[in-house]
């Protein structure tokens, strides 16, 4: 065990308590850290998660600043809806191959990602698709987490008939494959815009989270600190929100991150099947779907949205992994 881990163990035991005198007497330089500080430290030291976080933030910034969002203009010269003149079959003008290796050097050109068959700038289109996909994923993540946390918390805390009813309802929802219910709802609400679609998908994607939170609540509600709170006369809502819920923040954060990752893939799949985002708006899945037959002749129409889907899903998954390691250091320390 290194010094830091010792500090971690000490910190976890006594919260933000004072440094114990005995360890100081042994000449060990120990800093007391709160649980939050420890988690943050572990997360920031997770190389994969930090690289992913940087990339994800860059992608989000690129998507939302380049062509602007919600009426605010962006810095990119084209927008995603105006058709133009197709130049050189719409081939991408981006080149990154350096000149000393026989390439053209770094150049962005007029249409870095190329143009589609109507002459629309494909960079702008991809950015618009990324905007919508990211928006949907995050809204789904928030809605799903909220509902899952509330249902799981209620079921786990109150037990009895509340738990039976809520958990049987969860079972009913789990019985319906996610893609099926999302497709059915998308068929109905897909035309009403991405935000409505996202909320509706969020309404069906909470089941795994609810089960997880219920499990956490079941074990936490038997702990001494909950008993103490109850003995002090705290009301159930106060116990749930002030005493138990903060202790499940780790589980919720990790699950929410993974929910966002699966929401990205679900949205693209729905749009691909034609039950998600509809034209004239676009999303990454819709772009792949519209141009999959162009792969042999104009592959860039297919590569770019796919690369963005993978980048977003992969980085979010890695961030989730980093968070899990940060909140649950046991996973890191095991040695076979």
């Amino acid at each position: 065990m290194s010094t830091e881990e010792k500090a971690a163990a000490a910190g976890e035991g006594s919260g933000a308590g004072p440094v114990e005198a005995s360890t100081a007497a042994q000449g060990l330089n120990i800093v007391a850290r709160t649980q939050g500080q420890l988690v943050r430290r572990r997360f920031f030291r997770h190389r994969g998660a930090m690289i992913s976080l940087t990339i994800l933030v860059l992608v989000i910034l690129l998507a939302y600043t380049s062509i602007g969002f919600a009426g605010i203009p962006g810095w990119w010269i084209w927008n995603y809806s105006t058709p133009g003149k197709v130049i050189n079959r719409g081939a991408p003008t981006l080149s990154v191959w350096p000149t000393f290796l026989g390439g053209d050097g770094f150049a962005i050109g007029l249409h870095p990602f190329g143009q589609d068959d109507l002459g629309r700038d494909y960079f702008a289109l991809t950015m618009r698709g990324a905007q919508i996909s990211i928006l949907i994923a995050f809204v789904v993540g928030i809605v799903g987490t909220l509902i899952g946390a509330i249902i799981g918390a209620m079921a786990g805390f109150y037990r009895g008939w509340v738990e039976s009813v809520l958990m049987r309802f969860t079972d009913v929802m789990i019985t319906i494959p996610i893609l099926v219910i999302a497709a059915v709802l998308g068929q109905k609400f897909g035309g009403a815009g991405p935000l409505v679609l996202a909320i509706v998908i969020g309404l069906v994607l909470w089941t795994a989270l609810a089960r997880l939170i219920r499990g956490e609540f079941l074990s936490l509600r038997e702990k001494e600190f909950v008993e103490a709170a109850r003995a002090l006369g705290a009301k159930p809502t106060r116990i749930i929100f002030r005493h138990i819920l903060p202790n499940t923040v780790g589980v919720i954060t990790v699950a929410a991150t993974l929910l966002i990752a699966s929401a990205i893939l679900l949205e693209t799949a729905l749009s691909y099947l034609g039950f998600g985002v509809r034209a004239p708006d676009t999303s990454l899945g819709l772009l792949v779907s519209s141009y999959q037959n162009a792969f042999a002749t104009r592959p860039w129409l297919f590569w770019w949205p796919g690369l963005f889907i993978i980048t977003i899903a992969l980085t979010v998954n890695f961030i989730g992994d980093g968070l899990r390691d940060a909140f649950d250091p046991r996973q890191n320390r095991v040695r076979a």
Binding site: R168, F169, D171, V172, M173, I174, T175, I176, P177, I178, L179, V180, I181, A183, V184, L185, Q187, K188, A261, L265, T268, A269, Y272, L273, G274, F275, G285, V288, S289, Q292, F295, A296, F302, G306, I309, I310, A313, L314, N317, F318, D321, Q331, V334, R335, A336
Partner: protein, 507 residues
């Protein structure tokens, strides 16, 4: 156990009932199938609207319509299925049965491969934790996890199917590919073997050299133009199977098991020649029968020769027998490949559909045809689901290998193989069974995308087409199958968990 199972059955039934209600109401209120007709200027539209209304009972309000449907569906319990009509007036159950067959073929095939591969990879990475292999596999698992099926499917169609078929017309292996394949296999072998540098270098060298020689041999003899498993390859691979089976089930200390499996391999080699005439154009039934015979015979060899190690010998011999049977099967398939390739104009790996339309041939050719169509969708499903199996197996295995009873087993002086396979792996499998069972439902649902991409007319297509109308009866037909599958497998998961882990049974 019985009251537990009965209670589970009871609850599951009502859960399924609730789910059918939700899905029916949602689909029925998703839109009016007649909407397009109302707008049209077709002179016969009144008749079409009337027909559609009649077929889907659109004149009845949603809730009574659901109960009417439920009445028909409940008939399935007593053998009188009535799942209503589709929009065209055909009964749902007919179309559903056909669709189910092709989807099950796809899903089961993919699932078996995904489980075998995923569990073995997860186990290896757990045993070689924090090695380069572990990190690479972890990264790949995350990557596959983040891949949209429809995107990777298009890539596979281009590179695995079209390019491969073109290459097969003039199959010479380029040197860069030989070098690359040798290097990758070498690195893999070194990673799996682990241990000291010398050991890893030897593994790298051995594997890389073996693969390079094999590929050069294939290239020189034009193996891919006239593929087949000749006697030399057959005896070599049977012996390898025998050795591997022994290593897995008994280890090399028990020589007697090795002899038993080697005898099985020799018997398999004899069968390779003996069965040649029977297998010229067999039926599927004959193949299954031969497989059973092979398993019984090899179990017999194991029982007769095993002595003190009888149970291990029986298992190892059965695995060897199965492997030899598979090799004989593969050799006949490969021998039929040139003829098949000529029949389908060189499209060996197909990109669309479940079979070549109007294709006729002998048993081997039709099998090849089905396999050629299965390959791409199977790879797509395997890639996506293998990631989670690998991760789960790895973490479950890591947890088990840190348990006290593993230390006890090592302290008793058991061999590492026994510790890993009998004490570690068995216990690590418990949580995995649950995950696999829960996954099957999702897999059938996920087949919707795979089938759309690859143009299979299975359950996914059935659902997709029905929802576009939207036709509640057909969607419900789909849901009844997937929902039942999910409920049943959930139940199986709970029950197996109870059997495997007695601690669960009490609650």
């Amino acid at each position: 156990m019985a009251p537990f199972i009965i209670r589970r059955l009871f609850v599951s039934f009502f859960v399924l009932l609730g789910a059918t209600f939700i899905v029916y109401v949602l689909v029925a209120s998703a839109g009016d199938p007649r909407a397009a007709l109302f707008e049209s200027t077709d002179p016969g539209k009144a008749n079409k609207i009337a027909a559609l209304t009649r077929n889907l009972s659109l004149d009845v309000p949603i809730i009574p319509r659901y109960f009417a449907w439920l009445g028909g569906a409940l008939g399935c319990l007593i053998g009188k299925c009535d799942l209503g009509n589709t929009a065209t007036g055909a009964p749902v159950s007919g179309g559903l049965a056909v669709a189910m067959g092709s989807t099950l073929r796809l899903v089961v095939f993919a699932l078996v491969i995904a489980i075998v591969l995923g569990v073995s990879i997860g186990m290896i990475t757990a045993l070689r934790q924090y090695s380069g292999l572990d990190y690479s596999v972890t990264f790949l698992a995350f990557l596959f996890f983040s891949l949209p099926v429809f995107w990777i499917a298009v890539l596979m169609k281009q590179f695995l199917a079209i390019k491969f078929n073109d290459w097969l017309k003039a199959p010479s292996i380029p040197p860069w590919f030989i070098v690359l394949a040798a290097a990758v296999t070498g690195l893999l072998a070194a990673g799996i073997v682990g241990g000291e540098r010398k050991r890893r270098l030897a593994a790298f060298g051995g594997a890389a050299l073996g693969v390079a020689l094999l590929l050069i041999y294939f290239s020189i003899t034009d193996w891919f133009a006239e593929p087949g498993i000749g006697p030399v390859l057959m005896i070599l691979m049977s012996v390898i199977t025998a050795v591997a089976a022994t290593a897995l089930f008994a280890g090399f200390r028990s020589r007697i098991v090795l002899y038993a499996t080697l005898v099985t391999a020799v018997v398999g080699f004899v069968c390779y020649f003996a069965l040649d005439s029977i297998l010229a154009d067999p039926t599927a039934l004959l193949i299954v029968g031969l497989l059973v015979v092979a398993l019984v015979v090899s179990a017999g060899i194991g029982a007769a020769m095993g002595g003190l190690y009888r149970s291990q010998a029986i298992k190892a011999c059965m695995l060897t027998g199965f492997g030899c049977g598979g090799l004989i099967f593969a050799s006949h398939l490969l021998a039929a490949l040139p003829a098949y390739s000529a029949k389908v104009n060189g499209v060996v790996i197909a990109t669309i559909g479940a079979t070549t339309p109007n294709f006729s041939g002998n048993f081997w050719e039709t099998t090849l045809d089905q396999l050629g169509h299965l390959i791409l969708p199977t790879i797509a499903i395997v890639l996506i689901s293998i990631a989670s199996y690998t991760r789960y197996t790895r973490s479950s295995m890591l947890e088990v290998m840190n348990a006290d009873y593993i230390r006890t087993a090592r302290a008793k002086g058991l061999t590492e193989r026994t510790v890993i396979v009998r004490h570690g792996f068995r216990n690590a499998l418990i949580p995995i069974t649950t995950i696999v069972a829960l996954d099957i439902g999702g897999l059938i649902g996920g087949a919707i995308i795979t089938e759309t991409v690859f143009g299979w007319s299975g359950m996914g297509r059935f659902f997709n087409d029905a929802l576009k109308i939207p036709d509640p009866n057909a969607v419900m037909g789909f849901f009844l199958v997937t929902g039942t599958a999910i409920v049943v497998f959930n139940m199986i998961a709970d029950i197996t968990y109870g059997f495997l882990d007695p601690r669960i049974r009490l609650s």
